[in-house]
Symmetry: C2
Amino acid sequence: MGWAPLPTPSSPAPAIIFLIILLSFTFEYSIAAAPSISSNGAGLLHRLTHPPFTPAHIRASLLHHQSSSHIPKSSSSDQSHGAIYTYKTLFYTQTLDHFSFTPFSYRTFRQRYLVNDEHWGGARRRAPIFVYCGNEGDIEWFANNTGFMWEIAPLYSAMVVFIEHRYYGQSIPDIAQSNHTAETLGYLTSEQALADYAGLIRDLKHKHLAEDSPVVLFGGSYGGMLAAWFRLKYPHIAIGALASSAPILQFDDLVPLDGFYRIVSEDFKNASTSCFETIRDSWDALSTVYEESRGQEKVAKLFGFCSNVSADLWSVQDFLYTAWVYMAMTDYPYPTNFLQPMPANPVETACKAMESLPQGSDLLARIVAGANVYYNGTGQVPCFQLSSDPHGLALWSWQACTEMVMPMSSNPNNSMFPAYTYSLQSTIKLCSDYYGISPRPHWITLQFGGPDIRQVLKRFGSNIIFSNGLLDPWSNGGVLSDISDSVVALVTAKGAHHVDLRAATESDPGWLVQQREEEKKHISRWLRLYYADLRAARPT
Amino acid sequence: MGWAPLPTPSSPAPAIIFLIILLSFTFEYSIAAAPSISSNGAGLLHRLTHPPFTPAHIRASLLHHQSSSHIPKSSSSDQSHGAIYTYKTLFYTQTLDHFSFTPFSYRTFRQRYLVNDEHWGGARRRAPIFVYCGNEGDIEWFANNTGFMWEIAPLYSAMVVFIEHRYYGQSIPDIAQSNHTAETLGYLTSEQALADYAGLIRDLKHKHLAEDSPVVLFGGSYGGMLAAWFRLKYPHIAIGALASSAPILQFDDLVPLDGFYRIVSEDFKNASTSCFETIRDSWDALSTVYEESRGQEKVAKLFGFCSNVSADLWSVQDFLYTAWVYMAMTDYPYPTNFLQPMPANPVETACKAMESLPQGSDLLARIVAGANVYYNGTGQVPCFQLSSDPHGLALWSWQACTEMVMPMSSNPNNSMFPAYTYSLQSTIKLCSDYYGISPRPHWITLQFGGPDIRQVLKRFGSNIIFSNGLLDPWSNGGVLSDISDSVVALVTAKGAHHVDLRAATESDPGWLVQQREEEKKHISRWLRLYYADLRAARPT
């Protein structure tokens, strides 16, 4: 397409880090299951035997097809709150490909959506419809972790709808049920997902004769990006969007590439400098053990991996990245069970666990103690696997290999992770090897706005809340200051990944209570304006 | 998709009229060449021998593959003005399918675009770039009929760019070079075209280091719709759009369905009531002749068809529809050669020609005299064919069978054409038979806004001029009143189809001169605001 590639990395960095970033650190969950590969056995073997091209958990699951895990498979409730919401599970006949008219594009799939209308004021009263834009996982999981919507719906007499993202959960097109290739995954894109939501919402309103009912969108993380983008592209279908922890700027070079790992690192440094230093020094220490005789065995024993796990260096690094990053992302002030059962303030807890070991303890023993806060918060896990995907997030790797190219580096001046300079070339190589296709790294900024995105949002956006917590590394790509009166940023210094969307708890700090009040004020204002416009347009 | 179909027509109407509307009365030109058909020979034969399912000119060209015509094949200049513009012809490597990531989607095609930068002020001065959004034909034809852009470019130190629409002119993907089926035509959509323009413009600016040069869009008819839609969907790429004669409301039931034929009819009635009545009565008269012995022969002789033409009733009706509709559309106040070489004020001229025959003349002889103003403005055509497509517009029928479903009826209370009530079912039947696929009739309103489009444009649009001339039947679907301070309607009582985009002439009436001055004022304002914003954002 003639777009100049980003500069080649100035210093070569271990490909391993890059791979972890790309395939492992998706928004919600680190451990991806195996996409099947269309290439021949030799190519597959090459990838399997050459670690740099495939993250450990994917290689492992390709080998073993294992999905057992220490994480409970059921994701239908947030066990830490016991919050169970009731809803009808419905299915919509969705078009596979909205943007072309080949016979193949007319294929359909069943898109799952969840509806609760017990508090809905009805079409005659033009009562609102609250719609969650599903992201890369099982929609029930999001429904049960988005208590805010459920809690405020009665205040607004709103219908509550959660729409599952295509290719996730139970909304998987037939072609991709068992066969994951570029041919079958090709229609897993954000634009198709937005068009899905548009069509489903229009149909839903039509069926309820609720053409005049305003739709308010909610979304967290990638779902928040979709909510904000939907508001830009389909303003006629939704009157506003709460986009929580939506890193819409984490593309091209719109924000510093080293911000993500800087924030994770700062979270740990703010908990304790020695904690930060221990993690920073652990990567070399880990490598050193692997150079020792029976190093892998020692590590497996130290970390408590199950006996069937092949704990090569690469896998263990991946295992640790996951723990540190996700504890930073979900550094909530009360115990949760979003990704894993975790105590309140997991970063601080992990640092304390690391420091609670007697003076002179082995550095890696401290690391294990810290990681266990993430992997064994319940203390009930007898041993660790390296592969599981209870929330069905595997296909984020496809999205990351096509349009959701979110460049990241790790800068030794501010990061406790090994140095890495982002390389588009490496992404292209990886994705070409893995999926047989090359990313379109500048497509998202072409679709939704690049360097001028703030200007675009100022002039053309309205009724969008970008909420971000600064503990969350994804806040690096978030909108952190107001763009206009109606495109606003709600930033909390102590917030983590879309904490505002979670159910209220008794232990919610004041700033979180306040944040949710602000969000309600904005939503109320959108609705007031909408109804005023409607009255003005149709005085009768 | 669960959308309720539009009501079934209350009175059955001749399928013929509907077919003419759908396949023949595209924006710019009536006579479509033959798409090849993927179905088997028997199905094709059925269509060929059962006129209701295939318009005459398509049937004819399927039989004869003839492309000879009385219309000059060269379309590179508007001969009535002798205006020849100079430009570089360039090609851009364009992605076949922007919205999916299947291996097939990565195919590319060469997209033609024309560039003249002789007046461009350059990147350093952030001089503007004027881009014409190509519509359903050869881009050189549009370039040579859009004199307004060429004439004002020097005033703004603007680069002039005309981008050809995919699948037209020389911008045809390999797969569709010789094989026209739903598989090969499936990527001919307006959303793909908009994404093409976005990518090409970004690349063009990048190549010229002109990231800060504002882009102003121009488009007429379908190209005007694209310009307006582009401004809604890609506001970060163009600062404003002049959308001339763009019927963005001619979808679903946003405007009265009988408006198009009402306006054509009124144009003739305003020229002369007897002219209107003659045409109104001619359809029955024509049918009557066909019931006579050797009726077809008589008609062929009367109309002056070439000896190889099979002038069945259906073809002749089509021939007449074309003449009346296009004379109304291009009822310009000076001689032109846009679709055909034509005198000034062709509607009035045709009516005068019809009335100039001696009293008592045959009704059909008058019709021939009127139609000849359209078909034989030069007086040089020895006989008429019924099939030609000099501007390469054939594939509009594909677009009309997929997303560009623009419903129209003919109401006997206000129309000189035979009565017809729009039927979605008939469209579905026709398109299924012809292309093997069913339209998605509500897709455009889902993408770009339906009943609330004015509200959408008010809140989210800015810097769009909708210009319409009320002589133009497409003004029925146009935006005819201001939506906001910056989404404005310029309506001229005596204007025809995108007359404002044409080159100035000495015989331009005052209202046209004034209209173009208004357009320049708006464009100047957009640019002033853009530069002011830029200075504010980057004071240095």
